[in-house]
Point group: C2
């Protein structure tokens, strides 16, 4: 069955790559309007998903729940994408070779983008909007907990496409939410040009383990802040509080704090006190626990863990090198930050910390496509191939060489 969906998507991809930007924008606007117009239908489908969900899973249910206001938010997101620049068609260069051949490289759609994600209906509309704007067809596989919502949303998007005279297969939903089908989806070589998993570490790991199509890993953020001995400690306290507590459940929240030993005695109790006052539990190294008695001892596992909660690991380190060595061992390569007034240390940290985003004197919470000015975001890549860090529309494109001549042959 997936092969049929794959073949449909390939066909739709050939169609959508020919659409001019103005036409793609018209589709996005029409789809946004259709979502708002059919909000009642979506809300009633969403109510079935909500009814089947365990009421105790509060954060989960909050992500799953749709109401009129949230549906307007989804529509507004699509309109925003319609106002972004279309990255496709851009010619990166054309050069003439000594033999008279012209060789150019230009940006083109990827083709078919596969998305696999959890119970967040907003990923359905966001993915469709970004894929379409970059000239791609998409195949979506959301989780079973959001199936009614996703079916309703995709039906509305497909109807809007049909009304405008475009093939509805530009967006397809895999309605079979079994694990077997997910696995088959991950191995749909020849149809999918890329698979992007969005969600928990477990989902991403499953995609990395099982997929034979190219995957872009997204999202896990075990983010560090290193407070160097020269840091401006007045600025450090509100910055760390922001990085940890402003939205602890997201991937760019800070999970670990490394403190230079020369300032630990005074600064560590101060920042740990401020964190504790903000409701954060401290898991520390031996020195941390000695300096701040409310801290509990951190396990080896804790240093690896993305808590996504009001918990922070705190460790006293000898110097910049020790901080970099710790980060290099435990970081997930998402966002790591140094607080320092030393020009040399700031540059060393930028050069030697091998993460998607490296910060000096700013909250890790800024790693985000919108914040970076990339527009709406397709997730944050923590791998190094193709796209690294927040992925905007460009991450949904590839390039193509074009070579024009007048009969040249190779000697």
């Amino acid at each position: 069955m997936l092969k049929k969906i794959g073949a449909n998507a390939k066909e739709a991809a050939s169609y959508v790559r020919r659409l001019a930007s103005a036409e793609k924008n018209k589709i996005l606007t029409a789809c946004a309007d259709a979502l708002e117009k059919n909000a009642a239908e979506i809300i009633s489908a969403n109510a079935k998903d909500m009814a089947a969900s365990d009421p105790a899973r509060k954060a989960f249910n909050d992500r799953l729940m749709l109401n009129e206001q949230r549906i307007s938010g989804l529509a507004e997101g699509m309109r925003k994408v319609s106002r972004q620049n279309d990255p496709t068609g851009e010619v990166l260069y054309i050069k003439t070779l000594p033999n008279g051949l012209n060789v150019g490289e230009k940006r083109v759609p990827l083709g078919v983008v596969g998305m696999i994600y959890e119970a967040r209906p907003n990923v359905t509309t966001d993915s469709f909007a970004l894929c379409l704007k970059a000239g791609n067809a998409c195949v979506l596989r959301g989780s079973k907990e959001a199936i009614h919502s996703n079916v309703a949303i995709v039906k509305i998007l497909q109807a809007a496409l049909t009304r405008l005279g475009h093939p509805p297969k530009i967006v397809q939903l895999i309605e079979d939410t079994s694990r077997e089908t997910a696995r088959e989806f991950m191995r749909l070589n020849g149809y999918l040009d890329v698979l992007i998993p969005r969600g928990s570490a477990g989902l991403i790991q499953a995609a990395v383990e099982n997929a034979t199509v190219p995957v872009i890993e997204t999202g896990v953020g075990n983010c560090h802040i290193f407070v160097d001995e020269s840091a401006d400690l007045t600025k450090a306290v509100p910055l760390i509080i922001n990085a940890k507590t402003q939205r602890p459940s997201v991937c760019n929240a800070t999970e670990k704090l490394l403190i230079h030993k020369n300032i630990a005695k005074t600064f560590l109790p101060k920042i740990c006190g401020a964190l504790a006052a903000a409701g954060v539990k401290i898991r520390g190294c031996g020195k941390t626990c000695a300096l701040f008695s409310a801290a509990s001892i951190a396990s080896e596992d804790d240093w690896h863990t993305e808590f996504l909660d009001l918990i922070i690991g705190v460790k006293v380190v000898d110097d910049l090198d020790a901080a970099i060595a710790h980060i290099s061992k435990y970081s997930s390569g998402h966002t790591d930050c140094i607080l320092t007034e030393s020009y040399t240390n700031a540059n060393e940290f930028i050069d030697l910390v091998d993460s998607a985003a490296v910060f000096v004197n700013a909250s890790t919470r800024f790693t985000d496509g919108e914040e970076f000015g990339l527009g709406a975001e397709m997730g944050i890549s923590t791998q190094k191939l193709h796209a690294r860090g927040p992925m905007g529309l460009t991450a949904l494109t590839t390039t193509k060489f074009f070579v024009t001549g007048n009969g040249q042959v190779r000697g």
Copy 2:
């Protein structure tokens, strides 16, 4: 055992990313000199590989064989890489956000590059040179048929590194050439940032199927030439002969010829006669066989096959759309070409054929890093993520965001 090699490589990667270009160039020159100085040692190791090889495998043995001249060629290749621009460190942009944060993106090494390849000792030196110049450590796994040659070469490279005071682990060879170890190598997540298979379709398929680390697919070239009705037929004949016969065993050689029905009656017998005279066997569609009696009928399989030999598939097609549809179904996405004098058809072909390189009026043999002016090449990517088409040094890098502020927090 591979984890140890992987950990060594990670350590070496942290070291090599700090090396200035001048130092990397010094290493490359010293390694080139060392290869030439120790040619006798390499030749004697190579003789063991040659002695173990079946003399009937002529093309295979030709790729495996090393002599003094070829070793100088390998050394010259390394010197050439030393003269190429270092792609790392390039700042792609820096912008200042409304809140005063500076966000930049710069080009940095990938880290650890894994190579898996067949009995071509030149891949050993080329891979090392390109990886080093782009600031990466590499782990090489050649085939058992070239093991003595590879061990000798890597020993010489490592000795040169040691003499210059650098860690020899910048290049490592996996000496165990078993399939189990190859499989383990393909799943060395946490150590390898990318795996690049170079060689036969079978090897590449095995990597795609088994790898859990990111893979860049290279090389399979089922390349097409479509002769449009408006083509300049005087230029077409020598161009097609060049594309098919100049070096039939390589991936950019043309494997299929599509001919517009309106010119088939006169042009098809002419080009098939010229190809046959050049020793090429013709496998054609029904119409081809009717127009050229020496052709044998092509099977469905033939249309999919990269012959890498003096064989060509020939098919009469109705028009440009039919040619594009055939290419879209059977092409490996490497290089496809149109011969036409129609401006509109040339542009349609460029836009709608979804291959790494799309040609107008030039031999497909030009798809090559050196020919395109990218310098020495790490293979030709036929996938769409990260790198597409000939891969030069830039394909061995990634980017990193760097964000500098003065205490900004997210609101």
